[in-house]
Symmetry: C2
């Protein structure tokens, strides 16, 4: 079981913004801080914008910032939205599965229940919980990266 890089980067972006100086950062800054692809991050930011959790403003004093407080962003909601194009096993493939017992298999429902439990556990936490006691290593992130 593995989360997509898309979800991983989405959560890191939110953690970064929740702890950023003046609550603001650029895509380039976040990409450099985490040493991840800026192109990939553009898509992540677009999706988080569609979800209404961050805004991207242009011009002087602009950049990315959270659209709501970190305490209002449930981790499970982010993961559900960013994982949505993936499926837990072949039997869930949107175009139909090659598994011959797929139409009748009980496992499908059991797996769906377990996936729900996974997201429900993440929903017990918000982005505020993830940065509640930001360790020095997280705070230093913001100092090291040229804006």
């Amino acid at each position: 079981m593995r989360l997509t890089a898309f979800t991983d980067y989405s959560l890191r972006t939110l953690i970064y913004l929740a702890t950023a100086r003046e609550g603001r950062a650029t895509i380039g800054e976040i990409a450099r801080a985490f040493r991840i692809s800026e192109n990939h991050l553009v898509k992540v930011v677009h999706r988080l914008g569609q979800m209404g959790v961050l805004v991207n403003t242009r011009g002087r004093g602009g950049g990315l910032r959270l659209a709501v407080s970190p305490g209002a962003i449930r981790v499970g909601r982010i993961a559900r939205a960013t994982e949505s194009h993936d499926v837990p096993a072949e039997c869930f493939e949107p175009g139909g599965s090659d598994c011959v017992i797929a139409p009748a298999c009980t496992l499908r429902h059991v797996l769906a229940e377990a996936v729900d439990a996974f997201y429900a556990a993440l929903d017990r936490y918000t982005v505020a919980d993830l940065v509640q006691k930001p360790a020095p290593i997280i705070l230093r992130l913001h100092e090291k990266v040229p804006a």
Copy 2:
């Protein structure tokens, strides 16, 4: 979030054996029934044998059979064992993560808790539950495949 093919094939193998005529089948038969790679299935069967859930005997009347009753095989236990070489996100990489905040990140613990919830939900079911009311499509599997 996606389970590995290894877990998928492990569970299908157990479902097949739990519903097989005389509780017995060969690797070739299961591979043909599900149209999956026999080579891949050899590794799956080896792992399930190590776990003590199936036995593979040679000779006449031999083949694969469950080593314990289907009701004694919890789905979560199988998934935990077959997924064990995978990790839910980069921050869990066994050799260390490239994520710069990995040593301090709370997300790691939150994800670990969610993964536990996923397996705990699967543990509420056994292989017996998966085949409790085997649909005709599953029973026909065993008729179609030449031994």
